[in-house]
Symmetry: C2
Subunit: 330 residues, 2 copies
Amino acid sequence: MVYHIIAGLCALLLSMLGGYTLLPVLKKLRVGQTINELGPQNHMAKQGALTMGGVSFLAAGLLCSLAFGFRYKNDHGQLLLYCVLCTLSFGLVGFVDDYLKVVRHRSEGLTVKQKLLPQIVLAIVFAVIAYASDSIGSGIMLPFTSKRLELGVFYIPVAAFVIVAVDNSANILDGLDGLLSSNSSIAFAAMSAYATYTGIVTQNGSLMNTGVFCLCMCAAVFGFLRYNTHPAKMFMGDVGSLGIGGALAAVSIVSGSMLMLPFMLVTMMISSLSDFAQVIYMRRHHGRKLMRMSPLHHHLELGGMPETHVVSLYSTITLIGCAAAFILFM
Amino acid sequence: MVYHIIAGLCALLLSMLGGYTLLPVLKKLRVGQTINELGPQNHMAKQGALTMGGVSFLAAGLLCSLAFGFRYKNDHGQLLLYCVLCTLSFGLVGFVDDYLKVVRHRSEGLTVKQKLLPQIVLAIVFAVIAYASDSIGSGIMLPFTSKRLELGVFYIPVAAFVIVAVDNSANILDGLDGLLSSNSSIAFAAMSAYATYTGIVTQNGSLMNTGVFCLCMCAAVFGFLRYNTHPAKMFMGDVGSLGIGGALAAVSIVSGSMLMLPFMLVTMMISSLSDFAQVIYMRRHHGRKLMRMSPLHHHLELGGMPETHVVSLYSTITLIGCAAAFILFM
């Protein structure tokens, strides 16, 4: 318990220190966010705010995970390394995208296809690794029971889909100051509690190490809120949002808790689905819009809800989702 | 574990529902906050925002505590009732103050003496009750050991001082939108973890019930953030801040964790001390000011830090303080 707390505290302090160091560097390199012209009008004021801040909390979270995550008896740290590698890989895809945006000074960066393709490839690779690994396997936990459902070879497409879906949903949720940071920090905290608790109950040291990983990520992302709270000094960029998505997906895979994701990441799911709903509605109704702007958080914002209130509302919903996940699965 | 979560979830939902119901009532009764003319200039914009919102989360937190807090084997719920009564009593002092403000439409309400006197009397009463009670006693936990230091009859002035100090500090910290709500919600969560953990380790059902109380208060105050996040629709008023102070002090007394308070409530302590420092400095330096305005959060705000950033900074410091308290005392 105290060990977990020390690990989290280190990640928090390191993340704040990292952000503090990164800010002037980004300023010097002029790594400004080029605000999407399709976003809400008042977001144009954010033009020039710094981006790629995700680098600082990913570094802090992953370093502390590696420093503290091998304490409990385990299968040579396989689960932890899986999580770290998955986070890094997807963070890297985001990094390339951000880098292109900064160099080209355009809001787009990679095209949708260029961004989705490496994600799908990576997702399949990580799904296969999970399937082939003895310590992860092809089972998912079912609600109301402590039984695992074995999916066999079908596990691969399911896991790959979950990775791509979570990663893109995290990317979509990252639209308001502090929105993704606060929501994912809560989700990481809940995942940490779940992994640690399950690890203790089942005497599985690997899961307890995964709990340390989640807590480090939770604290690192929370530390980033120092710079990301409205009005934000720094955005996390795709490197941050895709990294967070990769980490969340990886943790759900190694702990077999993929079915908990619709609850814990309920706000991410809402964002993605609202995006789809908008597109489908517009196609069916000759361009008429379902929402003022998708995803839903922009719709709420344009409806007059202050940005800070949307963030607070979403955080509360995430917290309720996490509570629901615990009630169903513990 | 699941039981705790259900209790917290109920308190969260009830608190949000309570706030939702209270808002139109307060609006109808015109229970507007009369902003202190001595506060920062831009706070005059808050004139007319609703106050006494604390009623909703106190009701939600206390009702859920009473509904869920008697589960574990215990000494006829003495500890829980102590916490509930202490919260209620101090909340009542705040209620009277708020009520007078609303009726008289002046920022002052009770004079300082009129407000402090009942608090001191109540504090002594609750300190004596704690001292006389078999299940609370006159000991406080020491750091780095799991030993209790018995204070004997000196426990009474110490506990009374702690109650008055915490209560007034909570009142002082309640100066920005969401500041006290977020900080105290974190402190309640930490206290819940401490009480529950200690309860499990020492097989003390009463402490586990206290853990439920803290979690209900944490969730209720978090739910209030829906209305209290910047820009706030509703302030908690003295009924809320004094109630929160009473609850925090009571929990530290029944769990013997008074020495943890300087860590868990570090931001409250900073606020109070900065107030004292300002007054003493002005006396010694012929009216020259130490800070732009005391307490410190107004100083930071007037220095150009956005209100939301002060809240985020303070929350982070509280979180670090709670981590430090765990490391020292667990």
